[in-house]
Symmetry: C2
Subunit: 210 residues, 2 copies
């Protein structure tokens, strides 16, 4: 499995989400056809995507939901929980601190960082807030590998550099800028305005499906 296409990985997350729901609703097994329909892709695609990682299906039966959930979690690396750092406790940062979806998927925010002296030393939503100076030491002590960056664009690159120096391996960036970073660090960017822009394009260009 040396080269897994990026598109496959993002679909894997969607499969996982759907399978999780199905398993919780008590569905034992599901066929590639059904799963494909649920996600708007072909059955062949589902099978091929899974084939990248091994054999998981049972001929004549389909995929066992619960089993596939654990398999995909293993593949994605979320079979055991991650400790995550949050940098920036503004509007968005606070919302992320309280976001249930993270913990549900095995991501636990264990430390938050900000500049505001009123916040430093306190707990916000049960999470301790540290000064940015302490970034490196806290990250090392708690062996945190992932960080969420929710600071203003003007500070984003600088904070990303700090995180990199502290040995962070992945950054989820909410600032609307393209971060530059060494290849040893991975970044995923979420620009909320861009998502709306995509919607705007789709609407004005009245393209079918979605």
């Amino acid at each position: 499995m040396p080269q897994v296409p990026k598109a496959v990985v993002s679909r894997l997350s969607l499969y996982l989400r759907e399978l999780h729901r199905l398993a919780r609703d008590g569905k034992e097994t599901i066929s590639s056809t059904q799963l494909g329909k649920l996600l708007g892709c072909t059955a062949a695609q589902v099978r091929k995507d899974m084939a990248n990682f091994g054999q998981f299906g049972y001929p004549g039966v389909g995929y066992r939901c619960a089993e596939l959930v654990t398999a995909i979690k293993q593949i994605m690396g979320t079979h055991q929980p991650w400790s995550v750092a949050l940098v920036g406790i503004g509007n968005l940062g606070q919302a992320l601190l309280g976001y249930r979806g993270f913990t549900d998927q095995g991501f636990r925010i264990v430390a938050a960082f900000d500049l505001d002296p009123h916040l430093i030393g306190t707990d916000v939503q049960g999470i301790p807030v540290f000064a940015v100076d302490e970034l490196a030491s806290v990250i090392r002590e708690q062996s945190i590998r992932l960080a969420i960056l929710a600071v203003p664009s003007s500070a984003a690159q600088e904070m990303a550099d700090e995180l990199t120096k502290a040995g962070i391996e992945g950054i989820l960036n909410f600032a609307p800028v393209t971060l530059s970073h060494p290849p040893s660090v991975h970044t995923v960017g979420v620009d909320l305005a861009i998502e709306l822009e995509q919607l705007s394009f789709a609407v004005v260009n009245k393209r079918q499906n979605s």
Copy 2:
């Protein structure tokens, strides 16, 4: 321009973001090579992407930043502001209400909806809050075409149906579920946990670049 690949559209937003910054910093023109480097793609890609929509560059010069910004805005449909509805004023919803990036890109949240009787009738961050019953009437009166859905997963599909009935054309969905919807409505999903999951995969599989 009958069939523009989806990947092109999402890159267009990144170009726009970068060009916007460049223009503000006083840069007159930029070559496809430079722009590509800034975004981590090849110069050929930049040129090809733009070629989908017409001719914007000047041989021997490059692209004029300010000019290209307005051209892309025109293409994306954000050359004039959009009125947007927000459904769900929880943790995340409130953060989105206060998010600066939306207004900067021409998206104005003009109405919010929630179930909580304490909120209905009040203003949150200067935006009036309505009951869900009023969804259709408010949306029609203000001719709102886009909506942001920030409700718990359990309510997401139901609210999406309401929005559809009310004539909404595009939904930005933050609930971690796949919405089913008629082809006349476009949806873009943002699942924050999935983004972290993608990061997790990239980190454990130590794939280079990003």
